[in-house]
Every structure is written in C-alpha cells, then in structure tokens.
C-alpha cells in the first residue's frame, strides 16, 4: 500500500492534540509503515509546505492572520482536512472570553505595551475553511486519532458520533454524579467518545468535548434546575470549551 502523505499543524493551542498523537507510543512505529509526515513542525525537521497532502490534521484555533494563511494553504493542498481537538472544533478554552473586549483583555496581561503582531478573538477552523471531519476533546482520546488514521488509510473518515457522554457513563454503570450526588456534571449535554473518562473517577464532566447533537435539551435543563443549577450557570460552564454554545 502506498504511504499516505500527512501534514500535522498546530495553530493557537497547547500542542496537546499533537502530543496525543505522539503519545501513541505503542502504535507509532507501525504508523510509520503506513504514513509519511511531510509537514509536522512539532516533531519533524524541516517544516516545508510543499506538494499535496492526503490528509492534514490541524490542532488549535485561529487567532492570527498568518494562521489563517497557513490554514488556507493547507486546505488547498489537502484531500482531507481534519479539525483535531476542541480549540480547532469550537474555539476552545482560549475563546473563553470572546464576548469581552479583546483590547481590555490584552491590557490586563500586557498593560499599555504593544506586542509584536496582530491577534484577534480565537475562532474555530470552520470560520475560515471547510473541515472534512472533527475530533473534539481537550485533549482528544488517542484511540479516536488512531481510528481516524485507520479510516484515512481506507480512503474515508470515521462516522461522527452524536450521543452524549451520559450514554457511555450508563454503559459503564457509574453512579450518576448529577442525580445521586447533585454535582454539576455536564455529561448530559456533552459529546461522547471519551468513554465517560471523568465521571468514571467521580469527577463531573466539564464539557471539554463540546455540545452533543443528540440530547433532550429541555429535559436536561429541567434536571439541572431541580438540582439547583440555573440554566445560566449550566450554559456558562459549557462555554468553557465552546464559547458559541447556545441552548
């Protein structure tokens, strides 16, 4: 089988999605039998954008003009462009205060000093380009990345999941942190795929994977209210990772 040409790029982010790929320690040597990394600045030198890519995985949100240029160049040269992680998918944690005046936020950190380049409020990739698939999560699960690459090797991308974390939590027969312990667990509304990682250790879901399309929103908000959580508080928490989330 011909090896696939990959590009792996990081925009404004923590590099956690790229690190998740490098954390596939057991699989990496096998991966090299099927994939060639032609643009992967975090792990391979030199980083030169040239030729066509079978697939490009992009981590991070857009917050600088040159990131937009890079993303468009990658889109133009890639058969598949995949948004990896919640920053690329939704804007992520960096977009937490997109509703506020960015100049004031900058002043809080840099005072009146000007810093070198122009930046703007963090945006997800789909604000600038067409995205062929999305793997969300902060960070995404390694298995999801491997499944994605396996799909790409067969010329396709995995079918997106649409159910919430709650479904997976039920499958694991966990105690419900919301109904049994009155904790603000966002698993009812958050996209699954993590196998309910946090609630399985008794830690409420923080919504890092963004909103699930298949939820009973009205009922969910009603349960939160019964447990003492106003809709405003629930939405505010959900917006940690997906600032544009609106019920």
């Amino acid at each position: 089988m011909k090896k696939l040409r990959f590009a792996i790029a990081g925009l404004t982010a923590c590099s956690g999605c790229q690190l998740s790929l490098l954390n596939c320690e057991a699989e990496l040597p096998h991966l090299l039998e099927a994939v060639e990394f032609h643009f992967f600045p975090m792990a391979c030198s030199p980083a030169i954008l040239e030729g066509e890519y079978d697939a490009t995985l992009v981590e991070g949100c857009l917050s600088m003009p040159h990131e937009q240029q890079l993303l468009i160049a990658l889109r133009q040269s890639s058969r598949y462009l995949i948004a990896v992680g919640s920053c690329a998918a939704w804007g992520g944690v960096a977009a937490l205060k997109n509703g506020e005046d960015r100049q004031l936020l900058r002043q809080q950190v840099y005072g009146s000093s000007r810093i070198a380049s122009e930046t703007f409020a963090p945006q997800p990739l789909h604000a600038a380009v067409t995205v062929d698939a999305v793997i969300s999560g902060c960070p995404p699960e390694k298995e999801e990345l491997l499944k994605l690459i396996a799909g790409l090797l067969r010329g396709t991308v995995p079918i997106p999941i649409s159910y919430p974390v709650c479904n997976e939590c039920r499958m694991r027969e966990n105690l419900c942190l919301l109904t049994e312990r009155s904790m603000l667990c966002l698993g009812l509304l958050t996209l699954g795929g993590c196998d309910a990682r946090c609630p399985s250790l008794g830690v409420p879901c923080e919504g890092c994977r963004g909103p699930a399309p298949e939820t009973n929103l009205g009922e969910a908000l009603e349960i939160y209210l019964q447990k003492g959580y106003e809709t405003g508080i629930v939405c505010e928490r959900l917006r940690h990772f997906c600032p544009e989330w609106k019920p």
Binding site: P29, C44, S63, V93, A94, I115, P139, R197
Partner: protein, 411 residues
C-alpha cells in the same frame, strides 16, 4: 549578502518561535530569539473564575507540562484559601509530577533532540537510524504517561487532581503495576546514560549562564528560589525578583535581572544546584550543550523518585478519601515548582466568594529567553566565518538544548 536571515519555523520544539540572524556579507554577526505564539491571555481568562475552575483552566496552558501546571495552580489556590491537603494527596501529586518529568524528558531526548545527533529529521528517521533506542525511548515515555494517567485520570490535562484532594484515589495494585514497570526500565536507563554520554557533540562549548532553581521541599517542590551565587528568594518575592518585562520582539514576557545578569533554569540548573556525586565529573559547570545528558540523568532520578514515592504510599496504605471541604474566602497564594524545563510560578488572589481577582503565571521558557538569546549570540561569535547554513543548523540545535515550551512561555 547583508541583512537578516531567519529560521522561520523552529522545528522539534513545542510552539511557535523563530531565530533571526543578522548578516554582514558572508558573516553572521548577531542573533535574536523571538516567540511569536499567539497570546491566549490566560491571566485575563482566569480573572472572574471560581477557585475550583482556576486549576482546570490553567492546566490548559500547555499539554507537555499540564500536570505540573495543574499541581502548581492547586497549590497556589490551596495556599490562598488556607486548605491543608493530606499526606497521601501530597505524595500522589509528587508522583504525578515525577511522571510528567519522565514523559517530558523522554519526549525531548528521543523525539526532539536525538535526531540532531544522528543526522535525521525526526522520530521517523530514528526508526531507521536507531530503532532500538527509539523503542526504548517510547517505552519510557509511555511509562511517564501511565504514571500521570494513573494519578491524574489522563496523561494530558489531568482532571482527577482537584482542589483539596483527588476524585478517586488509585488502587494499590495500580501503583504496584507502576512500581514493577519502573523496576523493569532501571537497567535501560543506565544503558541510555552510557549511550548519550558517548554521542559526539558538534556545538562549541558555550559558557553556562547563572543558574536558578526551586528549593526547600521534596524534589521538584519548594518554597523559594536559590541561585549558584547564593541568592535566596522567597515564593512571595519571586515574581518581583523574576522581574518580567514586555519587549517588542517577543510575545512572551522576558525576565530581566539586576544589571546584565542572565539566569538559566531547567535540568542543568537543577543538577548544578544539587549535583548527584556520580554525575558531578561530567556535569558540574558543563556547557549548555550538555543538556541532553542532564535530561537523561534527571530521567533516571525521576524514575528512582517515582519508585520511592510508590513505596512510601504503599507502606502507608492507600485509603479512599474525599477532597477536603472548602469554604471560599479572601486570600492570596503563590506556588513555586520545578516544571521539566525549570522554575514555574503560579500566583492568584481571590475575593470573599472565592472568585479569582488576580492571576500571574511565570514559566521556565519565558525565564530562559534571555539565556537562550545570550547563548545564540555567543554561538554566532564562536562560529564566526562558518558557512551560513551550518550556523543556522547550530542555532536551531542550541535552542533545542533549552527544550523551549513556547505555549507555556507566551500563554
């Protein structure tokens, strides 16, 4: 050809940075280190957040260092709210931080730096040039991740570490499994140190800047900064001593010390301030280019320390305990800790509802910026007359010696 040349995209480092080289004719006469990562403005994002949200958001600054960011943020929050954690929680956090040290150092040694010594472009090249070493490195790296995941629930952005305790305390058999794995790599680490010691060094021996590290606690933990010249700075005064300045050519704040002093933090600094006897001969006052060996020695230390933390935890007997109950209050707290790349500071202030009113985070790569730039300038002077491409390659290698983490630096 005069003017400036650039290493536009520094590769095999975390984040976005560049090196600008000033040319006069065929000579390179000066060098500048620039971090152009986009600022996510974390200090501003954290203001207005409840005390329990702060560590959860702050650890997103960086993935490689997420465990140590989380622990630093937790410690600063707990100090501000006068929360006392159990001995067990303290030991488990130390173990998670040692796991992070193992993962980060293994990533740098095997994926980012080693390719420089073997003339390949990255880990895919190592798969041909040094397959055994790569396999070994990936095994060690995986173990660092397993330690972090066992304690923190996830290797990156560990959610199980909470204000006042843990969501779920790991089971004794999980820790025993880690102990067995650590024992299994003990000899590999010795082999690795011999392998790295024997690698030929092509960078000129550049002088080591002054060194600074955290002290006064368990390994990697503490309550003060110390320097080789005898300065001692308490946690409360550390931010003003580190004196971060905003400079136009870089998005990360730069620590400017008294006069012309430049301080380096990280593995070589830590070892020089607390040198194990068996490594003194090779590493005392060693040049910046010895950082690969320093990281390897620290990798072994971290594995030993993780092993002994597990022994302590198992002999104490692990017990499930809930995080301590917290009542929000006004307060301020500053935590110092050693991240893999050096001194890390998290400092927060909270109002009486426990809402963050001020945040300040100082990271090792921002402290190291001045040392990196000074070393780059020394390198181009030492290589005066050398071919431009050779200077460029050497500059990139030198930057990797500091293992910069640029997402951390700019945050």
């Amino acid at each position: 050809m005069s003017g400036t040349g650039r290493i536009d995209i520094l590769t095999r480092v975390e984040g976005h940075g560049s090196v600008e080289l000033v040319r006069e004719g065929e000579r390179v006469v000066d060098a500048f280190f620039k971090l152009h990562e986009s600022p996510r403005l974390f200090e501003a994002l954290l203001v207005g957040r409840r005390f329990d949200e702060v560590p959860e958001i702050a650890c997103r600054i960086c993935s490689i260092c997420s465990t140590v960011h989380k622990v630093a943020a937790l410690q600063a929050v707990e100090q501000a709210l006068s929360i006392r954690i159990s001995r067990q929680t303290g030991l488990l956090r130390q173990l998670a931080v040692q796991g992070g040290q193992i993962e980060s150092h293994a990533l740098n040694i095997f994926c980012l730096a080693l390719p420089d010594y073997l003339g390949v472009g990255g880990f895919p090249g190592l798969a041909n040039a040094a397959p055994e070493e790569l396999q070994l490195g990936l095994r060690i790296k995986a173990l660092g991740n397993l330690i972090q995941e066992t304690i923190g629930g996830r290797a990156i952005h560990p959610f199980n570490l909470l204000v006042g305790g843990l969501g779920t305390v790991p089971k004794p058999e999980q820790l025993q499994h880690l102990a067995d794995q650590l024992a299994a790599i003990r000899e590999d680490l010795e082999t690795l140190i011999r392998f790295v010691s024997a690698l030929p060094e092509s960078l000129p021996a550049l002088p080591t800047p002054h060194v600074c590290a955290v002290s006064g606690g368990s390994p990697l933990f503490g309550d003060r900064l110390i320097t080789a010249t005898g300065t001692i700075v308490s946690a409360d005064s550390a931010a003003s001593w580190l004196n971060e300045q905003i400079e136009p050519h870089t998005h990360a704040k730069v620590s400017r010390f008294d006069g012309e002093k430049v301080f380096m933090v990280g593995p070589l600094a830590r070892l020089n301030l607390a040198m194990p006897e068996e490594d003194a001969e090779q590493l005392r006052g060693a040049p910046v280019s010895s950082s690969l060996l320093a990281r390897t020695v620290e990798l072994k230390q971290a594995a030993e320390r993780a092993g002994s933390l597990i022994s302590q935890l198992l002999s104490d007997g692990l017990h499930q305990e809930s995080p301590v109950a917290i009542s929000p209050s006004t307060g301020a707290g500053t935590a110092l800790i050693e991240a893999p790349r050096g001194v890390l500071l998290h400092s927060y202030r909270f109002d009486k509802q426990g809402v963050c009113s001020n945040a300040n985070i100082i990271t090792p790569t921002s402290i190291n910026q001045a040392a990196i730039e000074t070393s780059l300038k020394a390198l181009v002077t030492a290589m005066d007359g050398a071919d431009y491409d050779q200077v460029k390659t050497s500059c990139e290698r030198l930057v990797r010696c500091f293992d910069p983490c640029i997402s951390c630096a700019v945050h």
